[in-house]
């Protein structure tokens, strides 16, 4: 009976993820969308944990929930007059957009079920942090350094873009 439990957890996470993602893309209220995104990020982290990626689940919570979601909430607060409590957002092109999205989803599902995936033997689950650290310092050290330069450039570029051009 222990084979049932992972399935239940999987579908609970999947339902939470897709339900909150639907609120994100279709909700009327902007702040509510931002908080629904929180639930989506949490359930994606749960998926990572179920796939044996413990380090990635932690990084997902720290970077997405702690960083990106806070940034998005700042964006919501700074680009709307907060004293109007409505903060409603409009949608347009709903029918063509839904058609395109459904077509893409159908094609993806057909491809997923018609492709013979080559399956490897499942490895023993364990801490993945040492392996990731070793790969980052040996094989992927150049992308690692490039990513740090990219972060610096994005930081400086964002600061340049939002500054008022009075003292130039």
């Amino acid at each position: 009976m222990e084979a049932i439990a992972p399935k239940i957890i999987f579908w609970v996470f999947a339902g939470l993820m897709l339900g909150s993602a639907f609120v994100v893309v279709h909700g009327r209220h902007l702040v509510r969308s931002a908080f629904a995104l929180l639930a989506t990020f949490f359930s994606v982290a749960g998926f990572y944990a179920m796939l044996g990626a413990d380090f990635l689940a932690g990084v997902q919570l720290l970077v997405y929930v702690g960083g990106i979601l806070t940034l998005i909430l700042f964006g919501v607060m700074l680009t709307n007059r907060i004293y109007n409590l409505e903060l409603e957002t409009a949608t347009f092109q709903v029918v063509p957009g839904a058609l395109v999205a459904l077509t893409v989803f159908g094609c993806l599902v057909a491809i997923i079920y018609n492709t013979p995936w080559s399956k490897a033997a499942l490895v023993e689950e364990g801490p993945t942090t040492p392996a990731i650290g070793r790969l980052l310092m040996t094989e992927y050290v150049l992308p690692f350094e490039v990513a740090s330069v990219l972060l610096l450039v994005a930081l400086l570029g964002a600061a340049m873009l939002v500054r008022r051009r009075t003292d130039l």
Binding site: A14, L18, A21, S33, A34, I72, G75, A98, V162
Partner: protein, 101 residues
């Protein structure tokens, strides 16, 4: 045991929801949230493949780089949205039509 296909189908549904959001939302911040959904679905695919197809941790390193790039993208996109707000006094994408032919 949950099959690889279940993870891929859930990730495909998340991708389609993000695509729908990008196509139908007027608010630029909402479009940014939809892009984050697409990043997450790609990451689920990378980690599922690294567990079921290759069986090592290299896919997780790729997912880590995707998270780094998503952080950069969010910062720069919000800076652009702030500039847009300063010019247009709003972030409705249908108003940003200066380059429309």
């Amino acid at each position: 045991m949950i099959s690889l296909e279940s993870y891929l189908v859930v990730a495909a549904a998340l991708f389609s929801l993000g695509l729908y959001g990008i196509l139908t939302r007027k608010n630029a911040v909402n479009v940014l949230m939809s892009i984050e959904l697409i990043f997450n679905s790609a990451n689920i695919n990378l980690i599922a493949f690294s567990r079921y197809v290759t069986g090592d941790t290299e896919g997780q390193v790729f997912a880590l780089f995707v998270i780094v790039i998503a952080a950069c993208e969010a910062a720069v996109a919000l800076a652009i949205i702030m500039s847009l707000y300063r010019i247009l006094k709003g972030v409705e994408l249908t108003d940003a039509s200066a380059l429309k032919g």
